[in-house]
């Protein structure tokens, strides 16, 4: 049951991750672009259709009227009879009498003979077959057709009284030109609309998402340790609900953290008085150790060791709950990095070399001496306990910060434990379990807390030569 449920969860997460690829902001922009493009497309297409239909219609009507006029003009000329009473038709001459607008050519059929006003470019063959047949059968008609990429309208009018048929062909070049200009304009307008849509989308997504960004910033600040970060009400009913519940949630969380810290602190406080009594009592017994039988001596030694450890644990707990409760009581002093580390080594009665070039050793750090002494001291003791002691401490200058690098030659720390060992009461697995009797389980978490109070960071790596390397990074003071 469990694995499948987990698998399902994982799939859901994956799906979620895929869906979120675009991001809310980009999705809003995309919606706006698509919407505006669609809208402008619909408008453009209908505009184009409407305008082209109207323009072509007008042009055709005009051409038709012209055709009737021309047919009427031609009719008497086609009836001409000569002196011998025979009908004699000089169609080309008749055609020249017509005053066609440019782009319009006339073709006249008399019997099965066709005459064109521009025989070179327009023979009767250009006329669509259908139109020709229809008109020759006695019905006026008009039809649009195209040759190559040019479009034309052909109009046919039968002139039955003289047994002739009138055709004319009008090029729609002008209309085509207007329409293509219109098309260009519409495409441009569509593009601009899409662009404007994108801009409006970006602007409105930013406006709409700004409160979300503020919430994210506040949440990040809280994660980073600034627990006083809150959202501000801005009078927007929709947002204010989020703001209020967010703030209430953070208040609750802060309250819970404070209660936890206070609890740890209260417990530790209560433990101190009995511990003091215990420790003092034991020191009285220790002064008389030689008077005790051997079994009692062993028991006393056990008691003394455990009380000492207990005492350290309570001190560490107090220190940690203090780190929780208040960041204000950091007593910063400016110290020389090299000298400070050497003093700690001295105070812990070790003979560990402190390396580093002269400038680095003389770099100025602002530290709470008592706390930073515990930091380095805890790292030294940690190495004693789990790794056979510190082999060297090196100071490194990394620009804005100084790194205090504490090396040991123990088994190192497995990758998956490197974050966890800085948690409270977290001990490493195998290697550490052996020595678990001695530590308080709080040493490294105290290191992490104190370093964070100094706006620094601490982490552990494995040395290439083997062993662990703890690195404390602290900001330099500009001098």
């Amino acid at each position: 049951m469990m694995p499948s449920a987990q698998g399902g969860k994982r799939r859901n997460l994956k799906r979620l991750a895929q869906r979120q690829v675009l991001g809310l902001r980009n999705r809003v922009v995309l919606f706006f672009v698509l919407g505006s493009t669609l809208l402008s497309l619909v408008l453009s297409v209908s505009t184009y259709v409407l305008v082209s239909r109207t323009l072509i219609d007008q042009r055709e009507t005009l051409a038709e009227r012209q055709a009737y006029i021309n047919a009427t003009i031609l009719r008497p000329g086609l009836r001409t009879t000569n002196a011998s009473g025979q009908v004699e038709i000089d169609v080309p001459t008749q055609l020249r009498r017509l005053q066609n607008p440019t782009g319009t050519e006339t073709i006249v059929a008399v019997g099965d003979q066709f005459y064109s006003s521009d025989p070179l470019n327009f023979s009767h063959n250009v006329l669509p077959e259908k139109l020709r047949q229809r008109v020759l059968e006695g019905q006026p008609a008009r039809m649009r057709f195209s040759i190559g990429d040019r479009s034309f309208v052909a109009i046919g009018v039968p002139i039955p009284s003289v047994g002739a048929t009138y055709f004319d062909v009008t090029a729609l070049d002008e209309v085509d030109r207007s329409l293509s200009a219109l098309l260009t304009t519409l495409v441009l307008v569509s593009l601009v609309t899409a662009l404007v849509g994108a801009l409006v989308g970006r602007w409105s997504s930013r406006t709409v998402l700004r409160p979300l960004g503020e919430a994210a910033t506040a949440a990040e600040a809280i994660v980073a340790g600034n627990r006083s970060a809150r959202l501000t009400l801005d009078g927007d009913a929709d947002m204010d609900r989020l703001v209020l519940s967010f703030n209430r949630m953070v208040d609750d969380m802060q309250g819970r953290i404070a209660r936890d810290a206070r609890f740890a602190s209260d417990v530790s406080h209560e433990l101190r008085s009995p511990l003091m009594t215990l420790a003092s009592g034991i020191s009285v017994l220790q002064a008389r150790r030689s008077e005790l039988p051997a079994r009692s001596q062993t028991a006393l030694d056990l008691l003394a060791d455990e009380v000492t450890r207990f005492q350290r644990m309570v001190q560490d707990l107090l220190e940690i709950s203090r780190a929780d409760a208040d960041q204000q009581d950091l007593a910063l002093d400016e110290v020389l990095a090299g000298e400070f580390v050497e003093r700690v080594v001295e105070a812990y009665e070790r003979s560990i070399d402190v390396h580093g070039d002269e400038d680095t050793l003389n770099a100025v750090l602002a530290v709470d001496k008592r706390r930073m002494e515990r930091v380095i001291g805890n790292l030294i003791e940690n190495a004693d306990r789990y790794a056979g002691g510190v082999t060297a401490i090196t100071l490194r200058d990394v620009g804005q910060d100084i790194q205090i690098v504490v090396d040991d030659c123990g088994p190192g720390v497995p990758e998956d434990e490197r974050d966890r060992i800085f948690e409270r009461f977290a001990r490493g697995s195998e290697a550490r379990a052996r020595a678990s009797g001695e530590g308080t389980g709080l040493g490294l978490s105290l290191v992490a807390e104190h370093v964070a109070l100094h706006h620094g960071s601490v982490w552990v790596e494995n040395r290439p030569e083997g062993g662990a390397r703890f690195i404390v990074q602290l900001p330099k003071v500009d001098s």
Binding site: G281, V284, R322
Partner: protein, 226 residues
């Protein structure tokens, strides 16, 4: 010579355990369970060192210390709840000479007591009378006079003034003063020096906010103007 220590703590078990431990170190112990009781005990047997727990029922540890200061310059060690809250500064301002944080080990406490007793005995390096403007320091008598009028300094304040007066004009770092006056090393609490200097100023200066004698040298420490 045996020294008398007055233990003021409301927890009887702590008193008993500390008494046993300190008696092993060769001290004579008086006990008091409250500030009021302490004043009576102190009046009956003047102690060489007084140990005050900050958290007392009724009259607080701070008030007890202030009360004691009115009648004596006996060295006082405050037993505070924590080492870095306002308790420490408040205790020192109430007139304590030093502090230890609970839970304290008897050995550490004995070391602090020894350091304070040593300070109480040795008046300073020089025994010649020194004058600084309207101030007159008489090491042999352990007194300081301003315009001929004797000032009431505690022994720690006096010792601090003598250290500074030993090399007039020289700047003493807080670490140096901590070591010379309190016997602490590099990691001693600098607030001991700061609060004692502040208290010293309220006594030897006309205007403690604008000190003429005990001057602060920013970022370095303190000096006595020659």
């Amino acid at each position: 010579m045996t020294h008398r220590i007055l233990l003021i703590d409301d927890d009887e078990r702590i008193r008993t355990a500390l008494r046993l431990a300190l008696e092993d170190e060769g001290y004579v112990i008086d006990e008091a369970g409250s500030g009021e009781e302490a004043m009576n005990v102190f009046n009956a047997h003047a102690a060489d060192i007084v140990l005050i727990d900050v958290m007392l029922p009724g009259m607080s540890g701070f008030d007890t210390c202030r009360m004691l200061r009115r009648v004596s310059d006996v060295p006082v060690i405050m037993v505070t709840a924590r080492s870095d809250t306002h308790d420490v500064v408040a205790g020192l301002e109430a007139g304590a000479d030093d502090y230890v944080a609970k839970p304290v080990v008897a050995k550490e406490l004995a070391a602090r007591i020894r350091a304070l007793l040593r300070r109480a005995r040795t008046p300073g390096q020089t025994s010649a009378v020194m004058e600084f403007g309207d101030l007159e320091i008489i090491p042999d008598e352990g007194t300081v006079k301003r315009r001929g009028e004797e000032l009431h300094l505690t022994r720690t304040e006096f010792r601090l003034l003598c250290e500074l007066a030993g090399s007039p004009g020289r700047v003493f770092s807080r670490e140096a003063l901590l070591e010379k006056v309190w016997g602490y090393g590099y990691f001693g609490d600098g607030r001991l020096v700061d609060v004692h200097v502040r208290r010293l100023r309220t006594k030897v200066e006309f205007d403690a906010a604008n000190p003429v004698h005990v001057q602060t040298v920013r970022g370095l420490g303190y000096k006595l103007a020659p």
